[in-house]
């Protein structure tokens, strides 16, 4: 929509990035800090960014880090003192105790997670509403807000109402976060708000329940279910966040790589063995695994692995005039390459069989 007019560019000077200690948060902060048109990037999070060999500054580049919880009054001070004009809110924790790729681990179970996600966003938006300098707010959400249901349309557009409102965890938090963002947008129509609903992130640096699932030596699946999955590569996610942070793109947008993969396709691409189990057994096993903190499997992950989800991304492509570089399949393959590549056994077996039969 709006391109870089000089007047606007002079506006974008100080960017606040929340959840900067998460993988995506750190990458967005670094990318924005490298932009000469942006004077300052302030990163906030509850924990400092992971720093290899103690070189604090090197990790985030020019980004100044402030250790502030979203729900503390210090945040208001940060926004006011620094004359922040763009807020990029990435601090959405995807699992209790888990280090969801958005924010740092706010270990302490579901209530702490909800507090962090929902109350944190409320506080942040309250601070933005008070601020006279904030002109643009970009919020990271998830396509999980659509739920996963056999009764829903096959492909969700931004206007689709979820058939069943999610009752659990992450998706519910994201739904509530979006409600507050809509409220904020109503009260401050002069501020450009962008809500980005990301499909499951994939890539070498992503650590999420789904990437941990695909890293297991043996993959349990739900017998009789082959869900459609969609991924967005971390590079594309960072690119979208930076583009929406630099220019006005008001509205709600789905973000996903082109195409879909079936879970069975993903599993075959990993080359790992599968154990299909009936859904009650799957629930039991994942419950045990969750209890033993082996894999963090929430009910909504289970729904995703049963019914899947696909979203329409034409609105984003039309608004940004840009398409993700990685398709869903390419994002998954890149993730697999970073984890030692796909297992070659099944392909080898077919090749051997082909040689055996044709060479007889």
């Amino acid at each position: 929509m709006n391109t870089h007019t000089p007047g606007e560019a002079s506006m974008t000077r100080t960017v606040l990035v929340t959840g900067v200690s998460g993988h995506i948060g750190a990458r967005v902060a670094i990318a924005l800090a490298a932009d000469p048109e942006i004077d300052r990037v302030i990163g906030v999070d509850t924990a400092p960014p992971p720093s290899p060999a103690g070189e604090d500054g090197a990790v985030l580049g020019r980004t100044e880090f402030a250790r502030v919880a979203l729900r503390s009054p210090d945040l208001v001070k940060v926004i006011r003192d620094a004359d922040v004009d763009t807020v990029v809110h990435l601090s959405l924790v995807s699992g209790p105790g888990g280090s969801g790729s958005g924010g740092s681990g706010s270990g302490g179970g579901r209530s702490a997670m909800k507090e962090h996600n929902v109350i944190g966003t409320m506080q942040l938006l309250a601070a933005c509403q008070r601020s006279a300098t904030v002109r643009r707010v970009v919020v990271r959400s998830t396509t999980a807000v659509y739920g996963s249901s056999p009764h829903a349309p096959a492909v969700f557009t931004e206007d689709t109402e979820p058939v069943e409102v999610s009752h659990s965890g992450y998706a519910r938090d994201a739904t509530e976060v979006e409600t507050y963002v809509r409220g904020f947008a109503r009260r401050r129509p002069d501020v450009t708000t962008t809500t980005l609903r990301f499909a499951n992130l994939m890539g070498p640096g992503v650590d999420s329940p789904l990437t941990r699932y695909f890293s297991q030596p043996v993959l349990p699946t739900v017998l009789g279910f082959d869900p459609r999955l969609q991924f967005v590569h971390e590079d594309d996610a960072v690119e979208v966040l930076c583009r929406t942070a630099r220019a006005d793109h008001p509205g709600v947008f789905n973000v996903a790589g082109d195409g879909v993969l079936l879970l069975s396709q993903c599993v075959r691409r990993t080359g790992r063995p599968v154990i299909p189990m009936p859904s009650p057994a799957f629930r039991l096993v994942s419950g045990l695994a969750r209890g033993a903190r082996l894999v963090d499997f929430s009910p909504e992950q289970l729904a995703l692995l049963s019914h899947g989800r696909a979203v329409d991304t034409t609105r984003l492509a039309a608004e940004l005039g840009w398409r993700p570089k990685y398709s869903t399949a390419a994002a998954f393959d890149d993730f697999l390459r970073s984890r030692g590549g796909p297992g070659e056994l099944p392909r080898a077996v077919v090749d051997w069989l082909a040689d055996f039969v044709t060479g007889r």
């Binding site: 056999p150 279910f225 879909v260 691409r269």
Partner: protein
């Protein structure tokens, strides 16, 4: 014969066929194949799922098709068909007919029940079908697909044998609204033969309710012969595609005019009933005289 079979007979050597088979297997085990956003897997559909249905279509029901020219080639269309037979075998046969005779995949809009069930729901998606909802119908028609719908739903497929070839009430006409929005023609389609495959002479409503099914049929062979009772009777089938009904003369907004939608729905239903009666006469007895 379709081209899959055709390719086999013309010239390709056994080695080539074997190489093709292994290339197929390699793609399948490594997941290197494409599906669309609805979960449609064209390769699996053509090489495995339809292949399993073809003997039933060709040899068991000896299906004949009429009016193939009434389905537009290369653009979107909504095929509206009568539904019967206790189990949706007519949907599968229509799918084979559209694929093999017209060379187009048929994208059916199915009942919620199908998508709740494990295996079946996901198999339906792989073979190109999706849930009957306006969003999916609109999306498929906009993409120029041939979409199929059975507006009678369970009322049609689960009706007793005594009501055979009597069209039941057509839902709410949502399919007409979708066709108007997309501006695609509606092709009325009569299927004769499906009524006789499992003649439903009774029902066990209490057990059906217990199992969460719309009905639990009693046929001359089921449940008396157990799984053997699931064998469809070898009736003679005719599938006729009728004169397309144009919707592009309406503005897309007129899809929201209930009166127009009702009138068009009624018109289509009457057309189909006439078409069905004529086609039934044309077919004659369902079974050769020796059987009946």
């Amino acid at each position: 014969m379709d081209d899959f079979q055709g390719r086999r007979t013309d010239g390709s050597t056994a080695d080539q066929r074997l190489a093709e088979l292994f290339a197929f297997l390699r793609r399948r085990v490594t997941g290197e194949y494409e599906i669309d956003e609805f979960g449609f897997d064209p390769e699996l559909n053509e090489k495995v799922l339809l292949e399993a249905l073809r003997p039933l279509y060709r040899h068991w029901f000896r299906t004949e098709t009429l009016g193939l020219g009434n389905v537009p080639a290369g653009s979107g269309a909504l095929i509206v068909a009568n539904h019967s037979g206790t189990l949706p075998v007519d949907a599968l046969m229509l799918q084979v007919a559209v694929h093999d005779e017209l060379g187009r995949p048929l994208r059916l809009l199915g009942a919620h029940l199908v998508y709740q069930l494990p295996v079946l729901g996901h198999l339906a998606r792989k073979s190109g079908h999706t849930l009957a909802c306006p969003e999916d119908a609109d999306r498929l028609l906009r993409k120029g697909e041939v979409v199929g719908v059975f507006p009678e739903g369970f009322k049609g497929i689960g009706k007793p044998f005594s009501e055979r070839y009597r069209l039941q009430r057509f839902g709410r006409g949502g399919f007409v609204a979708s066709a108007i929005r997309a501006g695609v023609p509606i092709v009325p389609c009569a299927i004769v033969g499906a009524e006789e495959i499992y003649p439903k002479i009774g029902d066990i409503p209490s057990l059906a309710r217990l199992l969460g099914l719309p009905y639990l049929p009693i046929t001359p062979l089921f449940p008396w012969l157990g799984p053997l009772g699931l064998l469809p009777l070898p009736s003679k089938w005719l599938i006729e595609f009728g004169e397309p009904i144009r919707t592009d003369e309406y503005a897309p907004e007129e899809a929201d005019d209930p009166m127009l939608v009702f009138d068009l729905t009624d018109h289509i239903r009457e057309t189909m009933q006439r078409q069905l009666d004529a086609l039934r006469l044309r077919r004659g007895p369902a079974f050769p005289p020796i059987v009946m």
